[in-house]
């Protein structure tokens, strides 16, 4: 499985899908995050592999 982590939330998705499709499955807009895997920034077309842990960095700030 692939693990997606956004702040304190964790999601699991099936491997083999593109990041953009994984984000859609867990209802996260790609516009609101930057994704990193093993410390590297990745784009939304990246295919996720079994065992991947993808950290989603929230981009929205302000008040």
């Amino acid at each position: 499985m692939v693990k997606l982590i956004l702040r304190q939330q964790e999601f699991e998705v099936r491997p083999g899908m593109a990041l953009v499709d994984a984000l859609k499955k867990v209802n996260i807009l790609p516009e609101t995050i930057i994704a990193t895997r093993n410390g590297e920034v990745i784009t939304e077309d990246e295919i996720l592999q079994d065992g991947d842990v993808v950290k989603l960095v929230a981009v929205i700030s302000g008040g």
């Binding site: 516009e31 609101t32 930057i34 920034v41 784009t43 077309d45 929205i60 700030s61 008040g63």
Partner: protein, 309 residues
């Protein structure tokens, strides 16, 4: 996705520009674009001293980093607000701003609101009408006052803030919903100096917030990731979420919204551009310009507290 410049694997995709770039070329592209915006909007020159308002967040630290890489004379100003919120928000953001400056040998001025005024921002918010609903209004007012005071006292020609396009589009969205003409006339990449007010510039105003996050991460800039505890539920965040939904369905929508607004404003859609000088009066206590004769709102707040009201 491949980098448009070198064909290597892209790190950042920017659909609104039909552009994907690798780490190396993205980190070149951001300063190049910033320089282009600084010149396009006549923000400042290499001969002028720039004071960068740094919060410890991704945008302001990235802005400081970019201006230094471009060779500008840029010093930092950190305003300690005294916000804890259970996450030591101000203490941690100050630590990160100081660490950033120390690692690069940069000058950071620090102003402590409690030391200056006797109270932290949350304490001021509890005791003033302006802050009773949320401290954000008091916080904004105090920050504007202190930023301008330091810029003026220390002889900086320009005050630069890290507002990005999402910040600007959210403000524009709010001002448009309310048809706040005075604010619409004033909103832009540059607010020209007047007597007693430093020039204010926003060199990152055409970068998406997502790009600035990518820049901070790719440059290895350590920034405060926690949100200000008082920002929860802020309307600006709600507007950003709405605009991101629109952006998702229509890439480029945020950029078009902002740029077309600037164009419309320049063409006089909102009437003549505001002439701030004409309507300002010097505050008799601090000397900073204010819109109505008498004390400015900052001095009214402080003197009321001094008088025990």
């Amino acid at each position: 996705m491949k980098c448009k410049k070198c064909g290597q694997k892209a790190a950042v995709n920017m659909p609104q520009h039909h552009l994907g770039l690798c780490r190396e070329h993205f980190l070149e592209w951001v300063p190049e674009q910033t320089e282009r915006f600084i010149k396009k909007y006549a923000m400042f020159t290499h001969q002028e001293r720039v004071l960068v308002a740094v919060s410890g967040g991704k945008d302001s630290l990235s802005l400081w980093d970019i201006l230094c890489r471009l060779g500008y004379q840029a010093d930092g100003l950190y305003i300690a607000l005294g916000i804890d919120g259970g996450v030591r928000y101000s203490a941690e953001s100050q630590r990160l701003a100081e660490k950033f400056a120390a690692e690069r040998g940069l000058t950071l001025h620090v102003v402590d609101v409690q030391a200056e005024t006797g109270k932290t921002i949350p304490q001021w918010a509890e005791t003033t009408l302006r802050g009773q609903q949320k401290p954000c209004a008091v916080c904004g007012m105090v920050k504007r006052h202190e930023m301008n005071r330091i810029a003026r006292d220390l002889g900086y020609e320009v005050l630069a803030t890290g507002h990005n396009l999402d910040d600007e589009a959210a403000v524009l969205f709010g001002n448009t919903l309310h048809w706040a003409l005075d604010y619409l006339r004033r909103q832009g990449p540059v607010l020209r100096e007047t007597s007693g007010l430093a020039r204010k510039v926003k060199p990152l105003c055409r970068f998406y917030e997502r790009e600035m996050t990518a820049y901070a991460l790719l440059r290895g800039i350590e920034y405060i990731y926690e949100e200000c505890p008082y920002a929860v539920g802020a309307s600006s965040i709600r507007y950003k979420e709405l605009l991101n939904q629109l952006e998702h369905d229509q890439p480029g929508a945020k950029l078009t919204f902002y740029l077309q607004f600037l164009e419309a404003r320049q063409q006089g859609l909102f009437g003549a551009e505001a002439q701030p000088e004409a309507a300002l009066h010097p505050c008799p206590r601090c000397g900073q310009p204010t819109s109505a004769p008498g004390l400015c709102s900052y001095c009214r707040m402080v003197t009321r507290a001094e008088d025990g009201e």
